[in-house]
């Protein structure tokens, strides 16, 4: 990348720019002023500039373009690989793959319904627990928190997001599960077993444990996006509510939350997207039993967990292909959920600059 190639093509605009910069600032202002303007506006690539095949600007831009295209290529490869490797299972089972409830690798029957059920139920539990907590934290931090406390709380919440999934799983196995087994499950069974949702032996390990761990993991995401959304609500909305005689809580409910509704829903869906893809912590506490049971205290199985647990031991191609198909389904669902959530958050925070790197 030296200056040598350019010297052979005297008419290139870039070359004249280099020469003029060597002549000194006064003269360079004249000649390179125009090329400088051209580059800044970017509207027309002046012919002289583009004529040289050794043009380094072109090469540099091309290189960066390659890097950007790499992202597109990666996603294309993801889709291609998933489709290609799950083809055998798709040909054999078709759409009934997702409606059969029999997962029997030994006999070659693969029905993915237990995993779909497990994923949905555990994610729902996680949302039910996480959303009130996350929105409460966000509201507290933006509306009611005394200034000095604001940073530590948001700091702590973001640190929760940084903890790797295995460590949540480790903590869940040795702290959360015994807690559930000894205190929470028997209490739930005693008072709520009439609902049919809390029956069965109190293993501790099961859907509820997975849901609780997932909840802890998605609280930071929902909370931080809700905070962003709430901070965009114009101040005059709050003042108007107060002027009409609302109490603090009413002001928050009417003036702020109602305005930010779409954004909060978007944040929740984004949290759902993260929960759907959560693998490790869930695999460690969900019990890994591919059955559809009404009780929340029973072991279950999620789509991500079955891939994590059984992939390395899949004995034949059909087994592997069935797991790939589950992966494909997971991929599609996560994309749809994330895009939907992104759209909702974007419509609320449109145009406002983000204060920090994601």
């Amino acid at each position: 990348m030296g200056a040598a190639p350019e010297k052979h093509i005297p008419s290139s605009g870039k070359d004249s720019a280099e020469q003029s910069s060597r002549e000194g600032p006064a003269k360079s202002m004249d000649r390179s002023g125009s090329s400088g303007l051209t580059l800044v506006t970017g509207a027309n690539n002046s012919g002289a500039w583009k004529r040289s095949i050794f043009n380094l600007d072109f090469g540099f831009r091309g290189l960066m373009l390659l890097a950007a295209l790499a992202i597109l290529v990666i996603v294309a490869l993801i889709i291609e690989q998933l489709l290609q490797l799950s083809a055998p299972a798709w040909h054999k089972f078709g759409i009934h793959f997702f409606f059969g409830s029999d997962w029997n690798p030994v006999s070659g029957e693969f029905g993915a319904l237990p995993f779909v059920f497990g994923t949905i139920v555990s994610s729902l539990i996680a949302l039910v627990i996480a959303v009130p907590l996350a929105v409460a934290v966000a509201v507290f931090v933006t509306e009611m928190c005394p200034k000095p406390l604001r940073k530590p709380i948001s700091f702590a919440t973001e640190l929760l997001a940084a903890i790797p999934s295995v460590i949540y799983g480790l903590w869940a196995i040795f702290v959360l599960v015994p807690l559930l087994r000894v205190y929470v499950d028997p209490w739930l069974m005693r008072y709520f077993s009439w609902t049919g949702l809390f029956v069965g032996p109190a293993y501790g390990i099961g859907m509820l444990a997975a849901g609780v761990v997932m909840a802890i993991m998605i609280i930071p995401i929902i909370s931080s996006i809700t905070r962003e959304v709430l901070s965009v609500v114009p101040q005059h909305q709050r003042e108007a509510a107060l002027a009409l005689g609302a109490t603090r809580w009413e002001m928050i409910r009417v003036g702020v939350l109602r305005n930010a509704r779409a954004g909060i829903v978007g944040a929740v869906i984004l949290g759902l997207g993260r929960a759907l893809g959560e693998t490790m912590a869930v695999s460690m506490v969900i019990g890994n039993r591919p059955e559809i049971v009404k009780s929340l205290l029973a072991p279950g199985y999620t789509m991500a967990s079955v891939i994590a647990n059984e992939f390395a031991e899949a004995t034949d191609d059909l087994y592997l292909s069935a797991l790939m198909e589950i992966g494909l389904a997971l991929f599609l669902v996560t994309i749809i959920v994330n895009v939907l959530a992104g759209l909702m958050v974007w419509t609320v925070t449109r145009g406002t600059p983000r204060a920090h790197v994601q």
């Binding site: 002023g33 790499a70 295995v166």
Partner: protein
């Protein structure tokens, strides 16, 4: 309710420190796993393995990410730029286990064996969108007047970007890279069937290799107390590394930088 949330965080950290500190000793850091039932042994091979995998991942992920970020910031005010941005966000949201599946198909199936390289590729795919978005945002923070001044002096665009704009945004880009690094350092799922894990020392990029999160996972779900103890020690190390990096980056560098640029 925030007390509940923050309290949970403190409780997790405290418990981790309490359980892990007792087992974190020199033997842990320098030995490979011993057979089940024998006391002692460590996760040294997992530490080295993690370093190798993360090195390979950074080798591929960081240049592509920075390059994409430069394109988006400097040349990307067009439809292609919008598409790339959208795709990067999509890629960011793909579950890590699916990325592991893809790396399996792309590398392991072609090579017919598990390898550290495959694990590195999987983690690199995960690093690219984070690094690209961070680079783009940091480059956009550089005032346009700096670039215009460079153009006015006759410096071509490629030189401006390389010698002026990028160094100005250097601190922010480094923090973005560190954040991406911290994120993938804790990932287990993509490594489950790419790097696969290894009980012995391995320094080759073409063989299965142990990794810290993998080892923690394997030990945690085992029925042996000794291994549980070691899992806690490994977890403590991982948490200190990752959460420490994240906290440092987010709340020291970023705050200082953003306050300075206003």
């Amino acid at each position: 309710m925030s007390v509940l949330v923050v309290g949970t965080l403190r409780a997790i950290f405290a418990y981790l420190a309490f359980k892990g500190a007792g087992s974190l000793n020199w033997a842990f850091l320098t030995q490979t796993p011993k057979p089940v039932g024998e006391p002692g042994g460590g996760m040294a091979n997992a530490l080295i393995g993690s370093v190798m995998i993360l090195g390979i991942a950074s080798l591929f992920g960081v240049p592509i990410g920075i390059g994409a970020g430069v394109y988006l910031a400097e040349f990307g005010r067009n439809k292609l730029g919008q598409l790339v941005r959208f795709t990067a966000d999509v890629l960011n949201g793909v579950p890590s286990i699916v990325i592991g599946l893809v790396a399996y198909g792309l590398v392991v199936v072609q090579q017919h064996h598990f390898s550290a390289f495959a694990g590195g590729v999987a983690l690199a795919i995960m690093m690219v969108p984070t690094v690209a978005r961070a680079t783009e945002e940091m480059l956009l923070l550089v005032p346009h007047s700096v670039r215009e001044a460079a153009f006015g002096l006759g410096i071509p665009q490629w030189r401006t970007t390389l010698s002026i704009t990028l160094p100005t945004a250097r601190a922010g880009i480094i923090t973005g890279v560190m954040l991406a690094f911290a994120r993938v350092a804790g990932e287990t799922a993509p490594l489950l069937f790419t790097a696969f894990g290894n009980q012995f020392w391995s320094f080759s990029a073409n063989q299965p290799i142990a990794a810290l999160p993998l080892q923690i996972f394997a030990y945690a779900i085992s029925p042996f107390d000794e291994w549980h103890r070691q899992a806690w020690a490994g977890a403590l190390m991982l948490v200190i590394l990752i959460v420490g990096t994240t906290a440092l980056v987010r709340f020291v560098f970023l705050r200082r930088m953003l306050e300075g640029s206003r």
